[in-house]
Amino acid sequence: MVDFLQALVDGVMLGATYSLLGLGFTLIFGVLRRLNLAFGPTILVGIYAGSHVGLAWPGALWAVVAATVVAAILCGIYVERCSFRALARQAPVVSMISTFAVWMQLQELVSLFEASRTMPYPSPAWLPALTVGPILLRSDALLMWSGATAIMLALFVLLYRTRFGTAVRAVADSSEAAALMGVNVSIIGAAAFLLASTVGGLAGVLIAQSQQQVTPYFGLWATVKGLTAMLLGGAGSLPGAVAGGVILGVVETQTLWHFGGQWRDLASFALLFLVIALSPRARSEPTL
């Protein structure tokens, strides 16, 4: 029972960052109706930038955070220009394939300059761990969860309580009607992309400080986790992406605890298949 609870708590904390990745995917997919496979790799570049800043100025955590987020945003702008704005008149599948090409570019660039080395990423080691009864809350996991929750709250206030958020959700619901209401659809699309990159960069900081290292395969990892979280939640629903991330995290930690690490990803993909096969929501039109 304690094992189950411990794994549940670990899963919720890990899952909060998957939720952030899922929200990033959902923002882009919901508003532009196009899949951005290069979302993970843009975060990868951000984390490498943060890692270098961390090596150059040990202890300057804020500089590491800023470097990670800014690099992720710049990379996001590059992806938006190449795969979305330049191909806006092409079929959505053309955008998706081109994001795959950009993904490979980014991953190869990082591998070239880093020679596939594992790079360290600083974490605020002074934070204490908490014990609640028999449950241990690791400091890095607590930071992951509280950081992700704060970012999600801010994001939901922005999307559900502001004029900008109304425009974003209106474009996601019907871009034609939104244009008739006077919403500049292309500007809102670019802004949603920028917002997703920012969320991705922040998620990158939270994940990397917990793992304390990064390899060039982080891009693949983040894309897979984010896509799975989004699809588990019903492809395009913002609250769904939050739930999808948490479910994915819990399934992973429970599998890890009870069956061992080698089953972890197999279990989450089996779950993803079941959800897509059984849920009508997962196969319906995307919405925010």
């Binding site: 004029r163 109304t166 209106a170 019907s174 939104a178 244009a179 008739l180 209401m181 006077g182 919403v183």
Partner: protein, 239 residues
């Protein structure tokens, strides 16, 4: 109020509007009749700034409108209730109304809130459904929401594209009473409608659009008196 002169709009190589001229006079209901594919929706979208005319001019209250972007057109007082209503299905009724006021939401929050209350007073059913996702409303309720959403931008010219489409006769009558009421309050209406008899019953002036050109225009009684048009659009034999 609205002067459309020799407007040509194309989709690639295909000319949808081949030199359309039309006037919507202030305080009147002007209706556009015509078969499917005549270019009626294209005309409304060109006025709304969603489509750019290849040539011709559109002036509104004496100022040129052709080539103006959609947000500026809404800001200058023209709103469109689109065909098939196009409410935002996953947003609540209240959020749909806020989205309708998008162009003035930033600078006139208090005015928007007041208008929201006014809409709820005018359409009590929308108040009952305020927190409900718009996609769960009936067709008639969605049409009312689409009209209310357009009104939230405080238009001087309200354009409506096929408001009767897919609605039960009683509901259609209700919608037309609303349109007539709005017109009596001073809103100029440009109405595209397949139901010619109903449209003519509230219109002051009617245009017949065929294959991208205005084929005929006149008062409703002049339209009804024209034998060919009556036969084709009103289902009356003889004339």
């Amino acid at each position: 109020m609205l002067e459309v002169r020799d407007v040509v709009t194309s989709y690639g190589m295909i000319q949808a509007l081949r030199g359309v001229s039309l006037t919507a006079r202030e305080g009147e209901v002007t209706c556009i009749l015509g078969p499917n594919g005549a270019g009626k929706t294209t005309l409304l979208y060109t006025i709304a700034g969603i489509l750019r005319p290849r040539s011709g001019s559109i002036s509104f209250q004496g100022r040129e409108l052709a080539g103006t972007s959609a947000p500026d057109v809404v800001g200058r007082g023209i709103s469109l209730v689109p065909e098939n209503r196009l409410v935002f299905p996953h947003m609540t009724v209240r959020e749909n109304l806020f989205a309708g006021a998008y162009v003035r939401l930033g600078r006139d929050r208090a005015g928007v809130e007041a208008d929201l209350d006014a809409m709820f007073a005018r359409f009590p059913i929308l108040k009952q459904r305020a927190g409900q996702a718009a996609g769960t409303l009936s067709g008639g309720e969605q049409q009312m929401l689409a009209v209310a959403r357009a009104l939230m931008a405080r238009p001087r010219l309200l354009m409506m594209d096929e408001p009767s489409l897919g609605l039960a006769p009683l509901v259609v009558e209700q919608i037309f009473q609303i349109v007539q009421g709005l017109n009596r309050e001073g809103i100029t209406v440009l109405l595209v409608e397949q139901n010619a008899r109903l449209a003519l019953s509230i219109a002051h002036h009617a245009y017949l659009l065929e294959q991208g050109r205005i084929a005929f225009h006149g008062t409703p009684s002049e339209v009804s008196a024209n034998e060919g048009i009556s036969r084709a659009y009103l289902g009356i034999k003889g004339g």
